[in-house]
Symmetry: C2
């Protein structure tokens, strides 16, 4: 199962009840953070998931509201006792930006690794059992959307296992995805498993205008988290000027990408009651939710095919 | 009148109900901030005093918990519409530290001026009608205590005014502290005012061991705000090692400096209920208060001498 929480849902400026944009995902004991505006360490503490498991921090871009909480997060990870390295990933300029901010956190008990993506380069990070992909989007400065995929292996197929002459005593290990060497032969999981089944996918997308690439990138996401900077359709000119989206544009992306659910986030500070404009999204994509700080959900593999 | 509020009261790490140390003072439409840890812009927004009037930000030192909120504060000041310059003041290394953090806030609509104090140098900033003094203290790295003084001019003395042959039509302006030129003569307020009366003084002091200099510096403060990192007296070894104070040590400073009131702040995150150890301070200095986020007070001139 994959846990998701929006730690903050405000764009540009924090409000007392709506902090700066950040998302955290947790899978199999590891945590991935996407963006960390000022206050992220506090809202993550409220969320109660700890800091030690953070192994990857992705940045959409380097506007202050998306990264100003990094020094605090790095210190919190250090204080949690982590000594394993942490990977940071973001558009080109990552190390320079982080080096600047680290003037107040020079000493950390873990190493930082950098994945710096040249503009228009689609990047990927592979965890042990998940992957994170990055897609360039259309903002005022280089900016990335992120997608987390948790693959799911196929079901164990005893007929296939027998056809491949796999000793029955090895079946369980192969079922668990392990490769086994036995009596001078090597047995791989694909010799005993059916086709990979549908895994889990979430896509996170701020700050950008809607683009066709985003539709392809977010295709069939279980959860599509997308900026909804402006609720009112008559703010389209402003959205175009500032390279942001309307609720209705986010909903159109969700509809065209055939996602399961849409969460709106990164609201303009002037949008004090985003729920008043929800219908501008639900008229286009019914399963839309207005995000709020620490809204959380656990995604499970679909077991109806068992 | 001088308004004071502690925006955050936690040392080292923010807790959900206790954010990083920061103090704000407001006098005559101007605001002074001392330290700004992560989240300061949010707690200041909750306090409701706005951002535009901030003209001076003082830093005790550059450990992250005292400055990580600076980018957010600078952006909030900019968004408030301020175009007048803002002065930053702190130990040597100020500009280098701020330049690092400003990698994410390169463009601001106001100029920043720096007062960088060499170690062991006692510094001062003079506002229009108040002054801020800085005293080197005893921490792991160069660190300053700050004192805000609001002077109060003497009462108008008609006998003195008459003795100095001041035309009666000029009395009101001189009473307001203005210098007046009239019929080729210059009249200064001291020609018509009695001795300066007791003004207002607050002293702010983290992170440090107690020192005799602090007693002199804080002398007769109306309000002495002092770190109370550890409540228990048996943590003295730890306090010495980390260059921090016990409640009892802060109270001894308050007592010896003959201050009016002591607020404790900058509590260790491990000190979840500082009020349990309040008596360790009140046994030495009775008028001690355990600080909490956004504890506020308005100090008035003493009018009993009217």
């Amino acid at each position: 199962m994959l846990d998701i929480s929006l730690l903050g849902t405000s764009g540009m400026m924090p409000l007392p009840n709506r902090w700066l944009t950040s998302m955290v995902a947790r899978y199999s004991g590891k945590m991935i953070l996407v963006d960390c505006g000022e206050g992220t360490q506090i809202t993550l503490k409220l969320q109660g998931w700890g800091f030690k498991a953070i192994e990857l921090i992705c940045f959409t871009h380097y506007h202050a509201d998306h990264i100003s909480g990094l020094p605090g997060i790095l210190l919190a990870i250090g204080n949690s006792g982590r000594t394993k390295s942490v990977t940071l990933m973001g558009p080109v300029g990552l190390k320079k930006t982080v080096d600047g901010l680290r003037v107040i956190t020079p000493d950390l008990p873990f190493e930082i690794q950098y994945i710096e993506l040249p503009f228009n380069h689609i990047g990927e990070y592979s965890g042990d059992d998940y992957s994170v992909s990055a897609l360039p989007v259309d903002h005022l400065i280089p900016c990335l959307a992120y997608r987390i995929d948790v693959p799911r292996k196929g079901k164990f197929d005893p007929v296939k296992a027998k056809l491949n002459n796999i000793p029955q005593k090895l079946w369980r290990e192969l079922q668990n995805g392990e490769t086994v060497e036995y009596e001078n032969s090597i047995y791989t999981p694909d010799m005993a498993l059916g086709e990979a089944r549908k895994g889990l996918r979430i896509t996170y997308c701020t700050d950008t205008r809607p683009t066709q690439n985003i539709e392809g990138f977010a295709k069939k996401s279980d959860l599509f988290i997308c900026e909804g900077m402006y609720g009112e359709d008559d703010k389209k000119d402003k959205a175009i000027k500032n390279r942001h989206m309307l609720f209705s544009e986010a909903a159109m992306l969700a509809n065209n990408a055939h996602v399961n659910e849409l969460w709106l986030t990164h609201f303009s500070p002037s949008l004090t009651k985003p729920e008043e404009f929800l219908n501008n999204a639900t008229d286009i994509f019914a399963n839309t939710v207005i995000g709020y700080d620490r809204i959380s959900k656990t995604l499970y593999f679909d077991n109806t095919d068992k």
